[in-house]
Amino acid sequence: MNWITIAGMMLVTWVPRFVPLMLSRDVPLPRWIRRWLSGFPYAALGALIFPGILGAIPDAPLVALGAGLVALVIALKAKSPVIPVLAAIAAAALLDLVL
């Protein structure tokens, strides 16, 4: 791995991340496209959670799934994600001992 490769990786990572920020701000978009965009974060969340969570701890899918369930239940009451996240880590540690 040399520094030119790293510079190349940096460019092809950074450019597609900042160019749309500069360009999409003032382009007038029809309502259906704006609605479509508004669904992006939720679709991304769904796709990021599942099926990835099953492989979070490669040899113990049930531990990760159980921790996810703990996060879900606590998130129903919590004000920020911090408490559900810490609870899920603790739950994973406990389940890992038991299962």
């Binding site: 791995m1 030119i4 490769t5 790293i6 510079a7 190349g8 990786m9 940096m10 092809v12 990572t13 950074w14 597609p16 991340r17 900042f18 160019v19 920020l21 500069m22 999409s24 701000r25 978009l29 309502r31 259906w32 704006r34 609605r35 479509w36 965009l37 508004s38 669904g39 992006f40 974060p41 939720y42 679709a43 991304a44 969340l45 769904g46 796709a47 990021l48 959670i49 599942f50 990835g52 969570i53 979070a56 113990a60 531990v63 990760a64 996810g68 996060a71 998130a75 129903l76 919590a78 920020s80 994600p81 911090v82 559900p84 996240v85 899920a88 880590i89 994973a92 540690a93 890992d96």
Partner: protein, 230 residues
């Protein structure tokens, strides 16, 4: 104005705390993998400082180990990062950043900062930069730990910390769905599409799986609005 920005930056930092914790074990793993692929300490750290793209960095370490040409590594990175292009299109609409802010914000767009940022009602460039700094710090600290010391995080802790980001995604999604059930439909569809892709088109990989899920599942939002419209 400056005080408002400082406050938003601080809120972003705090919102990014779960990302910091979640990136740590991943970055430690990256540090270990990169060093064992024969990448030097400085280059391993440099990748995390300058590239800041988890999946691409893991891939690059693997490709280096198997002796792939550097140009292929750069090309593979570009292909893997297309999902962030989509995410930035949406963020651009939300943030309306100036030129300098676009450069800075763009540097810290990841899957995780995108979902945390886009679910924040008071999203501003300063908030996103605080969030990005929290994420980047975790990624960098973990890389240095992994590259230098190999096993600095005990195995049982690293195992349970591996659920952090998933727990954060769930904790972000739950209140959003409670506020508006339509978002739950899109999320479940996104998960089903991602699952089907992983099952039937495994060659797509996790990066493009997210692209397909975002484009397809969000189409439902055209008929079922997710947000209040002005």
């Amino acid at each position: 104005m400056a005080a408002v920005n400082r406050q938003a930056f601080g809120r972003g930092l705090r919102a990014g705390l779960p990302v910091t914790i979640g990136y740590l074990p991943m970055a430690v793993a990256f540090g270990i993998v990169a060093r064992s692929s024969g990448i030097g300490m400085a280059e391993t750290t440099g990748m995390s400082v300058f590239v800041f793209a988890g999946a691409s960095q893991f891939m690059a370490a693997e490709l280096v180990a198997s002796g792939v040409h550097p140009a292929s590594i750069v090309l593979a990175t570009l292909v893997l990062n297309f999902r962030h292009f989509l995410m930035s299109v949406h963020l651009g609409r939300r943030l309306r950043p100036g030129r300098a802010a676009s450069l800075a914000v763009g540097f810290v767009v990841t899957d995780e900062t995108y979902v945390v940022g886009s679910l924040e009602p008071d999203l501003t460039p300063a908030f996103f930069l605080g969030l990005g700094l929290a994420a980047w710090s975790g990624w960098l600290a973990g890389t240095v730990i992994g590259a230098a010391a190999a096993q600095a995080i005990p195995d049982f802790l690293a195992r349970s910390m591996a659920v952090t980001l998933y727990a954060m995604f769930i904790a972000l999604l739950v209140p959003a769905v409670v506020a508006r059930w339509q978002r739950g439909i899109v999320a479940v569809l996104g998960a089903l599409i991602a699952w089907a892709a992983s099952r039937f088109i495994p060659s797509l990989g996790p990066g493009w799986r997210i692209v397909v899920a975002m484009l397809a599942a969000s189409a439902v939002a055209v008929a079922l609005p997710m947000e209040d419209e002005e």
